[in-house]
């Protein structure tokens, strides 16, 4: 009873957050002409999804998003790991170097998108997934490096020293000890990078074409001159959120589990 007030408040907050997505899910599952009906669930229909994957070629855009998001993380992660390790262990660049990395995150994306477009155009990489993947990787590196730096700083240098006296080189100690131990950090950083790339809109809008659009761009294109096709937008939103829900479960598991526990003291 003592917690009743607290729980009531929490349920209210949960409802406040979860009702809009639930309504989106509901709208995506009813026929387009009943989308604005006041009934809670007037009729069941998969026509929105069928239309998305059929005439709207949503499958292609879905695949594009996956390629770009996964690709950019795969490219960015090794660089970010090396950079974060250098910051953490060798204080490379000192405080100024760290500030520089952080300051890159503070630049408004609009300031970067035009130069990026100019560079990609000279390389004939506009309207291509390759170009967008490279740009996303570049945008991800400082952010991921910053996250990984924190992780590497938490790994005692004794571990590397032990490995080096055990017979590895400095590189071997990084590869065989530091990387496996920081696997949860790498996974967390990778998932965060994936989410950032998945949700990104501005660069995708400017740098892709009709065949290479990613999901955010495809969703925006559903706002036509004939009005917003709210049923299809809802279906698209549901599909766009799905991988993020999976990713957040994943990231939670990895971040909570502290793997270094037990190595020292």
């Amino acid at each position: 009873m003592r917690h009743f007030g607290l729980h009531a408040g929490l349920w209210l907050a949960v409802a406040f957050i979860i009702l809009p997505p639930l309504w989106v899910l509901r709208t995506s599952l009813v026929p387009e002409n009943m989308a604005y009906s006041t009934e809670i669930f007037p009729a069941f229909s998969l026509e929105n999804y069928q239309s998305l994957f059929g005439q709207k070629r949503f499958g292609t855009f879905y695949l594009n998003s996956i390629i770009v998001a996964v690709g950019s993380v795969i490219i960015a992660l090794p660089f970010a790991a090396a950079m974060g390790y250098a910051f953490a262990r060798f204080q490379t660049g000192g405080r100024f170097g760290r500030f520089l990395v952080l300051s890159l995150q503070m630049l408004p994306p609009v300031a970067l998108v035009l130069p990026a477009f100019a560079i990609l155009r000279s390389m004939e990489l506009t309207q291509s997934l390759t170009g967008l993947t490279i740009v996303y990787a570049a945008l991800n590196i400082p952010f991921l490096a910053w996250i990984l730096m924190g992780f590497f700083e938490g790994i005692p240098v004794d571990l590397e020293w032990a490995a080096m006296t055990d017979g590895t080189t400095a590189w071997g100690a990084f590869w065989r000890i530091v990387l496996p131990v920081s696997l949860p950090g790498l996974a967390a950083a990778g998932v965060l990078g994936f989410i950032l790339s998945w949700n990104e809109f501005l660069f995708a809008l400017v740098l892709t074409g009709s065949k290479t659009a990613t999901i955010p761009v495809a969703l925006a294109s559903l706002q036509t001159s004939n009005g917003i096709q709210i049923g299809k937008v809802s279906a698209g939103v549901v599909l766009a959120i799905l991988p993020l829900i999976v990713a957040s479960r994943f990231i939670q598991r990895f971040i909570v589990q502290g793997l270094t526990f037990g190595s020292v003291k």
Binding site: D158, T165, I177, L259, G262
Partner: protein, 377 residues
């Protein structure tokens, strides 16, 4: 098997007072030595330099007579046990112990045999499949030792390996380490700030302070003949009693005088201390050299104003004032006194020392009791 020699070794960290300066020392093959000093004295830095984990700024490190300044840690064939144990958290006990052998490319059958043998020796056999996180502090300690032993290195470097254990376990591991050393007969350097470990484990102690080597020698030798007030204070608990006063000529003899206190200097030391007559000195006497009854030829009665009594069980430590300065006297458990009372104790002056007040250095004198100090086997 390895001898380790340091010649004029210095390691200075830019913008910091830590580090070591001009260290000269030689450790014989198979010796068990202790690096003793307060935290920040540079003993761990020195250890890491010997292991090759820190580069030195100047001087030479020799292993088996060969300069190894630029030899990588993995090629020095030295095993380090870290204070934090530094077990690889993603590997189980077996993998932790086998890692060094695998890195050196030993055949699988040999690795298996060696790990099994080391696990047997340290009582780790039932734990081989566990991850470090599932081990107790003492078990982790033994795994760290096992990881060092399996490699059969030329030398063991132990960086405060017992400091994270509770008192009882520490006493057990102390014996265990000495036993292991006797069995393996490998050169061992044990870094510690614990004077009990220093006194009981090593063949020789190297005492460090502020990055410099202050004194070296067999434990009892250093205990009986400290080079300065720092060593005198550091190597025992309670530390050696130090009383400021002056040396006064008294007929043929010399007397140490401070306020109402007057202690006759033993005849054997007169020549050594004669030059200091009339000058201020610091008198040093260990707490166990106070007795309830006269003891020895140079026993002298003193009045102690008792301030506190620490009853430890086997003995009572009386803390009080002598000539207005705090001293501690270690007496049997049968002797006690009321705080606030003044009692008469008998100071045995044969083991006394005099120190120069300015720099704390000992004033050299003939050895008090040469024979029993060398009885270590």
């Amino acid at each position: 098997m390895a001898s380790i020699e340091l010649r004029q070794v210095s390691k200075i960290y830019p913008g910091s007072t830590a580090g070591v300066k001009d260290i000269d020392l030689k450790i014989e093959d198979g010796e068990f030595v202790i690096f003793l000093g307060p935290s920040g004295c540079g003993k761990s830095t020195l250890l890491r330099s010997i292991a090759g984990l820190e580069s030195i700024n100047s001087g030479d490190i020799l292993i088996n007579g060969e300069v190894v300044n630029h030899v990588a840690p993995r090629d020095r064939n030295i095993a380090v046990v870290f204070q934090s144990y530094a077990l690889y958290p993603h590997m189980n006990v077996w993998q932790n112990m086998a890692f060094g052998l695998r890195m050196r490319g030993n055949p699988a059958a040999e690795i298996d045999a060696k790990v099994t043998a080391a696990a047997e020796l340290l009582g780790l056999t039932p734990l081989l499949q566990r991850k470090p996180s599932a081990l107790s502090g003492g078990q982790r300690q033994r795994v760290a030792l096992g990881r060092a032993i399996v490699r059969d290195p030329q030398a063991f470097l132990l960086d405060e390996p017992l400091s994270n254990l509770d008192a009882q376990l520490r006493a057990e591991m102390r014996l265990e380490l000495v036993r292991l050393h006797r069995k393996l007969a490998r050169t061992t350097i044990h870094v510690t700030h614990d004077q009990v470990e220093a006194m009981t484990m090593g063949d020789r102690i190297f005492i460090m302070k502020d990055g410099r080597l202050v004194q070296q020698g067999p434990p009892l030798e250093v205990y009986a003949n400290p080079a300065d007030t720092f060593v005198a204070g550091f190597l025992a608990s309670p530390p050696m009693n130090l009383v400021a006063g002056r040396i006064v000529a008294d007929g043929d003899g010399l007397v140490f005088a401070a306020k109402d206190l007057a202690l006759p200097v033993p005849a054997a030391y007169r020549c050594a201390y004669a030059a200091w007559a009339g000058k201020p000195v610091t008198f040093g006497l260990r707490s166990e050299d106070f007795h309830a009854a006269p003891n020895g030829a140079w026993s002298s009665p003193v009045s102690l104003q008792v301030e506190a009594v620490e009853a430890l069980g086997p003995e009572n430590i009386l803390i009080g004032r002598l000539a207005g300065q705090q001293v501690a006297a270690r007496l049997s458990r049968h002797y006690s006194a009321q705080p606030g009372k003044t009692v008469t104790l008998h100071a045995d002056l044969a083991p006394m020392h005099l120190f120069i007040p300015e720099d704390g250095k000992v004033i050299p004198r003939p050895r008090a009791a040469p024979a029993p100090l060398w009885g270590r086997t």
